[in-house]
């Protein structure tokens, strides 16, 4: 299965769009017509063929362009990639996890050969051929986390486990929904979640943390989170908010279908073997409103979810300025028919 990688941009002229196949495989996050925070964690089991859950690490048509966007972000702001000194073993663990998974599931694009500590990595889409010694930082052009995550879609945080808590002590964060690694690095699970409304009082973080502290090697888990983004901009960081914030005022009834995107994060967690750290991957998928409504069930359902969303959540997610225009657009695609349970499109 060879992926046709698109040439597109996530800034300036915003040429990003989804192919019809990418629309059908979009990880739509609502399994019913309403949304509220919950401890929505499930086993990260292989899902349906061609879905984003088919393989542990999903590579898709946006891969090459997303990696170019990441390189641009890092050039402007190196603080998006940081690692505290005690995380180096976890960095190597992460490199192994990503290379193994990519090479196993996309052999046309990636090859990994291992001979003891002597590894050889080939990344054909990005034109990289690298021999190195596993565990020897001096044999790679960048430290291992940075090296491998410049070649893998999704943001990554590495969490150290100690004192019955998880500590965000390393990460590569260039496609975030408005939070800062530079500010949050070194915080624990409760601290970095501090700004989230309602969920603390619902006991969600307490239960989620307890679950994660017992995460077993070889039994990864996943969850979906979502927000919305005006223009297909991957780098919606707080660092650059003064540059992209004004996008939120540009939505009109005429352009909403093209400008407003549902942004879904497929978040997966693995226990790592050598370091006992946890890796948290945050893979962002975006879909324009006029792409989304090509799946009738999704148009109906997103209309109802967005219309009835609690104001605290709408504010926190930054939707307030363009919510009404988006709901009005979606209303035209909601005939009031009942929706089937579950995430997936109805058979045609």
């Amino acid at each position: 299965m060879t992926i046709q990688f698109k040439q597109e941009t996530f800034r300036d002229d915003f040429t990003f769009s989804n192919s019809p196949e990418a629309i059908r495989r979009f990880p739509f996050p609502f399994d019913k017509d309403e949304y509220m925070y919950a401890v929505n964690i499930e086993q990260h089991m292989p899902g349906p063929v061609k879905s984003p859950f088919e393989f542990p690490i999903d590579i898709d048509e946006h891969y090459v362009s997303e990696m170019r966007d990441r390189a641009l972000v890092l050039k402007e702001d190196p603080l998006r990639c940081q690692s505290l000194p005690h995380m180096i073993t976890a960095e190597w663990d992460l490199l192994e996890l990503l290379m193994e998974s990519m090479a196993k599931n996309y052999p046309e694009h990636f090859t990994l050969t291992r001979d003891g500590d002597r590894w050889h990595w080939i990344n054909r889409p990005l034109g990289i051929d690298q021999a190195f010694t596993f565990g020897d930082v001096s044999t790679l052009p960048q430290p291992p986390m940075e090296y491998v995550t410049r070649q893998c879609q999704g943001d990554f945080a590495l969490l150290d486990q100690r004192l019955d808590n998880l500590w965000m002590d390393a990460g590569m964060i260039t496609t975030q929904a408005d939070w800062s690694l530079d500010f949050d690095i070194g915080m624990n699970f409760m601290e970095w979640h501090a700004p989230v409304p309602l969920a603390h009082d619902m006991g969600i973080f307490e239960r989620a943390l307890k679950f994660l502290l017992n995460l077993q090697q070889g039994r990864p888990v996943r969850r979906l989170n979502w927000t919305m983004t005006v223009n297909p901009r991957l780098d919606t960081s707080p660092e650059n908010y003064h540059k992209w914030g004004a996008d939120r005022t540009t939505v009109t009834p005429e352009n909403v279908g093209d400008k407003v995107h549902l942004r879904v994060e497929l978040q997966a967690l693995w226990r790592l073997p050598r370091s006992n750290a946890i890796v948290f991957s945050i893979r962002a998928y975006m879909i324009k409103m006029n792409e989304l409504v090509t799946i009738p069930k999704w148009g109906r359902r997103l209309h109802r979810v967005l219309r009835d969303l609690k104001p605290e959540l709408a504010d926190y997610k930054g939707l307030t300025r363009y919510r009404a225009d988006t709901v009005a657009y979606l209303a035209k695609h909601d005939d009031g028919a009942p929706t089937s349970p579950g995430f997936f499109p109805d058979p045609e």
Partner: protein, 200 residues
């Protein structure tokens, strides 16, 4: 006392003498001197093993320093400003021995800086005993230019480095010893709500 409604903000439990410590290393600023006096007055055994650092800050002219000196601790370092106090503390931390307990009292920004400095020297931040005294002013890092602005009493305020109008978000980094400042008029430039004095 500061309310602990912000989950990323530390709780300042108040100074309490650690009877088992071999050394007491005490840093205070401004009104923090009063917390140190409350903890150490009459504790002669502890004072014989204590090093005190003090910068008068906003309490200059109130003779707090003289009262601390009168405790006659083993070591007393009156310093003119916070930065000079932190320099001195750094030197002391470099040679601090096992069994040293660290205490800090004063404004939140000062506590944050001392705890971050101690952490950089391998001290678990949770082990530092802290007490908030004096103004509620906040130390704020601009998330855009990363510059720190000291003694922020109102939100929004102007970043002292890049000049953006920032609101103070309820999010605190222990590593930086600072709250997060975020551009308040990013969406509609020039639409700036009136400043409110929230942190006096």
């Amino acid at each position: 006392m500061l309310a602990a409604t912000i989950k990323s903000r530390p709780i300042y439990e108040g100074l309490r003498l650690d009877g088992r410590a071999k050394r007491h290393l005490v840093a205070a600023e401004g009104e923090g001197a009063l917390a140190v006096l409350d903890m150490l007055a009459g504790e002669d055994a502890a004072l014989a093993r204590a090093t005190l650092l003090y910068a008068p800050g906003g309490s200059a002219g109130q003779e707090h320093g003289a009262k601390l000196a009168a405790l006659r601790p083993d070591g007393f370092h009156p310093l003119p400003t916070q930065p000079t106090l932190l320099n001195r503390l750094e030197v002391i931390l470099q040679t601090a021995t096992m069994g040293t307990r660290i205490y800090v009292a004063g404004t939140e920004g000062f506590i944050g800086k001392v705890v971050a400095l101690a952490q950089a020297h391998g001290v678990d931040p949770q082990s530092v005993r802290t007490e908030h005294r004096g103004s509620l002013a906040r130390r704020v890092q601009c998330v855009h230019c990363k510059g720190m602005t000291e003694n922020v009493t109102a939100s929004p305020f102007v970043c002292s480095h890049c000049g953006l109008n920032l609101f103070v978000r309820d999010h605190y980094s222990r590593r930086l010893g600072a709250f997060q400042g975020v551009c308040v008029d990013a969406e509609v430039p020039g639409e700036i709500p009136p400043a409110e004095e929230l942190f006096r």
